[in-house]
């Protein structure tokens, strides 16, 4: 786990991620200006850092209702505004970017943050970026695989010789500056299916597993597939970290948490995905065996510990801000994580 800067003796890591969505608050119908949203995300990261949270990441989505298309620029502001928290993308759509530029950007963020940057590379669940950035959807799979491989190579070798289909060849190319310690953690984003998890295992890199709702055991299949594929490809699963990421909301009671969170997720998903979140499914989210971490702080602690027992994962990353959640409620959630949830999780998951 050293390559991933993860020290399991300190317990499981807890993080926060944002997709950088820019949606109206359904209770008012109002949407804050994009500038305010971006600055609130930076402030959100600062508060997370002060609360002792381990990790913060920002996503890239090229479509309506999003504000952090230039996620690496936002991350560089976060790098300067924070002290200890690890910072990353969630995810960088490597398929439609130039891996060399991505590596230069994130290596620089790593220097600004004094060794806290990571890259989580994904291939987009939506396709607006293909038209916008000049790529063909027909190459969806190949673009991702080829560019992800190049990204890994850039991380391993300072002088690179490479040729491929989708980018001009590199001849003795020096990709600088280097990250503070020569390389940085690179993860593969996985949308939940065992087939996609297997590919992360084959590549022998950390897996960032996103999930909406459903039983924890359903996602265990993806975790198992990942570790099995890693082993078959000659990697040691014990050296490869798993992070899970999904909806989180803490309030005094689980009922209050459902009330506070549901309209944001339902209305937000209608706008960004074209379908709301069924109430029946959301109501099941508070079940101790459901992967959504929604409830009272004590219930959430128990849920995360159960997930840790099932997944054996190294990091859980909470999405709290989707759908125009007002900033004061994000502040309240960070406070509950920092004062109640994080200490309990660390205490019970620290490896002796």
């Amino acid at each position: 786990m050293q390559n991933y800067r993860i020290d399991q003796s300190k317990g499981m890591e807890l993080g926060i991620y944002t997709l950088g969505d820019h949606l109206p608050d359904p209770s008012t119908g109002e949407r804050i200006p994009a500038g305010q949203r971006v600055n609130e995300i930076i402030e959100y990261a600062k508060l997370a850092d002060q609360a002792g949270i381990d990790f913060f990441s920002v996503g890239e989505s090229h479509q309506d209702y999003f504000a952090t298309q230039a996620h690496s620029v936002v991350l560089s502001a976060i790098a300067q505004a924070t002290e200890n928290i690890k910072i990353s993308s969630s995810s960088t759509i490597i398929s439609t970017l130039d891996p060399v530029r991505v590596y230069e950007d994130f290596a620089t963020i790593d220097l600004i943050s004094k060794g806290r940057a990571e890259i989580i590379a994904g291939r987009a669940s939506r396709v607006g970026n293909f038209d916008l950035l000049g790529y063909s959807l027909r190459d969806y799979e190949e673009l991702y695989e080829e560019k992800f491989d190049l990204l890994l190579k850039l991380n391993e070798e300072e002088v690179v010789n490479w040729s491929g289909e989708y980018r001009p060849p590199l001849k003795d190319a020096r990709v600088i500056p280097r990250p503070q310690n020569g390389s940085m953690p690179i993860w593969r984003a996985v949308g939940g299916s065992p087939a996609s998890a297997r590919k992360a295992g084959n590549a022998g890199v950390g897996m960032f597993l996103a999930h909406l709702g459903g039983p924890v055991t359903a996602f265990k299949r993806a975790v198992d597939a990942y570790r099995d594929a890693a082993q078959r490809s000659g990697f040691d699963p014990a050296e490869l970290p798993v992070a899970t990421a999904g909806f989180f909301y803490a309030a005094e009671t689980s009922q209050q948490a459902l009330k506070d969170m549901y309209p944001h997720i339902n209305e937000g998903m209608k706008r960004t995905n074209g379908q709301g979140f069924p109430k029946q499914h959301f109501a099941q989210g508070v079940d101790p065996h459901n992967v959504m971490n929604i409830g009272s702080p004590q219930e959430i602690i128990e849920k995360i510990l159960y997930q840790h027992e099932v997944f054996g994962h190294q990091r859980y990353i909470a999405q709290i801000d989707f759908g125009g959640v007002p900033f004061e409620r994000l502040m309240k959630n960070i406070e509950l994580i920092g004062t109640e949830i994080l200490p309990a999780i660390k205490k019970y998951t620290a490896k002796k």
Binding site: R126, Q255, N273, G274, Q275, P278, K279, A283
Partner: protein
């Protein structure tokens, strides 16, 4: 309540004729229903390439969006080569996999042979079930001999169309009120 009638073929006239009767029945019996007919013959729809339905453009986007916004859908389809036409299957492929959740879907089938009667049962219903539709179980099956020059000449077919419309509306109201009552119980 929004009902979309979908005429699922780009050739022939029988399905469209039967759908015209269906839309007329909705307008006469349920003037408050917002009814829209989509005849695929009038649109230029692209093949599904797997993207989110919001990301299509032009006619394709109009059709997917209109169907997603409906409370109920009545699908009219001919039978080609012992199956539904490719144009209709493409519409299903364009939509998300659970897109008929909380929607009622009724069916009307036109066919050149009575041998095709079970095709809706065996091929169309499984697709609708997979996509989470509440299916109006009884469908209207109309044969060649029931038509003459773009008119339906068999009163029984007209009665069955009226019953399909009524069943679709009643089931939509029923499922909606059940869902609303259940959702109110959740209290969030």
């Amino acid at each position: 309540m929004k009902i979309v009638g979908l005429s699922g073929s780009i050739v022939g006239s029988k399905t469209r004729t039967a759908m015209d009767y269906t839309m007329k029945a909705i307008a006469e019996k349920y003037p408050n229903v917002e009814a829209t007919l989509i005849d695929l013959a009038e649109y230029n729809v692209q093949f599904s390439d797997g993207r989110n339905y919001l990301e299509y453009e032009g006619d394709t986007k109009y059709i997917t969006q209109t169907m997603m916004e409906a409370d109920a859908i009545i699908i009219g389809t001919p039978i080609f080569q012992a199956s539904i036409p490719a144009t209709l299957k493409n519409i299903f492929d364009l939509l998300p996999e659970n897109s008929f959740r909380d929607k009622v879907v009724g069916m009307l089938v036109t066919a050149g042979s009575p041998k095709h009667y079970l095709i809706a049962e065996n091929q169309l219903k499984p697709i609708l079930g997979y996509m989470k539709a509440q299916i109006v179980q009884t469908y209207v099956f109309i044969e060649e001999e029931d038509f003459y020059r773009k008119e339906i000449t068999n009163d029984d077919v007209l009665f069955r169309i009226d019953r399909l419309v009524e069943d679709t509306v009643v089931l939509t109201e029923t499922y909606t009120s059940i869902r609303e009552a259940k959702e109110a119980e959740y209290d969030f």
